[in-house]
Symmetry: C2
Subunit: 212 residues, 2 copies
């Protein structure tokens, strides 16, 4: 084990920087993210950040990657503990809403914020964001299809359609939770999918109980 303390120190700084960058980007935007602010928040110098990323764009791309990893750890992986099928689909939706409700990020959702920010700004950052969104969509569609394959949802179900609807409920939840009544937002997001799954799923025991 030849752990070079110098390299280790750099790695630590880099990780701490990206965590702070993800959080800050949800407030100021990925474009609005300023190196001076970020350096201040970390107690380091602005030029110290430049030692790790040659340019702001490189930092932005790394920030997107870090946000993807965070989403994987805190939303997807916990939900994957639920058994395949409708229950896992529901678990993802719940984990996502919990992530928003726990206010892990001050600006709500890194992806929703930045994707709206960059939808008219061509370039590598936008492409990276679009790629992440594409992956997330594919993941949701796979989960839906799995549930259908297991017979927990109709065999002729339009999987991309249901995946679209699930994601839509989630995006609206984080948007409304920051501008209007948070509790109502989360309730509507949950109830929306619950209604939809109850109408589709022949086995009601797979779904949580609750108001009709």
């Amino acid at each position: 084990m030849t752990s070079d303390g110098r390299l280790a120190r750099g790695e630590r700084t880099r990780a701490a920087t990206l965590d702070a960058a993800v959080a800050l980007a949800t407030e100021a935007g990925l474009h609005g993210l300023s190196l001076a602010q970020l350096a201040d928040a970390l107690g380091v110098s602005k030029s110290g950040l430049f030692a790790h990323w040659r340019s702001k764009e490189a930092l932005q791309l790394a920030t997107v990657d870090r946000a993807v990893a965070q989403w994987q750890e805190q939303v997807i992986e916990p939900a994957l503990r639920a058994p395949r099928g409708v229950r896992r689909l529901w678990a993802v939706h719940e984990a996502r809403i919990d992530f928003y409700a726990a206010r892990v990020l001050p600006g709500g959702c890194f992806f929703a914020n930045t994707e709206f920010e960059y939808n008219a700004r061509p370039g590598p950052v936008r492409d990276r964001l679009a790629g992440a969104f594409n992956q997330w969509t594919a993941f949701l569609e796979r989960l839906v299809q799995q549930a259908a394959d297991l017979g927990e949802l109709p065999a002729d179900l339009d999987a991309p359609q249901l995946a679209y609807e699930i994601d839509a409920l989630g995006i609206s939840a984080v948007m409304r939770s920051r501008l209007l009544d948070p509790d109502a937002a989360y309730r509507h997001a949950r109830q929306g999918l619950l209604n939809r799954l109850r109408a589709l799923c022949p086995d009601p025991t797979l779904l949580p109980e609750g108001p009709s």
Copy 2:
């Protein structure tokens, strides 16, 4: 008729400026909107803008108001020509998607973009945006309730819930239409509401035909 040519000229400039500001804000954001860029795009001087708005914030607030008026003219009013009830509800959804598909604004949707931008930025601009969102939500809920009162939807329907779902489908449409496949986005947004209304509405003749 004492139309003061000076005031008329000012009003013209002000209107043109706000139209450009709404469009620019969907690209650069309402915060990222720079007075120099805006002045350049209009072919006027930066200081000329300060003759009309004392500060950037005043311009931002006026821009929000202009966007509200534009939404009223181009989405709400056309849809209000449809008869009350389910058909009007559908007309609003259609008008909204058409507005996005026509690419009236380069950044898609002024409200979606700016509301995500400001959801963690307290202040007058955020409050104004939240107010606009509240009004829009109330409008949708009123339309849903009307349809229920007319007997075109179940009497015990949860109106805010359905309004939430309709708006969610629309927001996702504009987001996905700029990052992924636009046609798929619009199709899913339409199909989502169509499925929902078909399941709720006892009279199928009120809804457009189309794929099941």
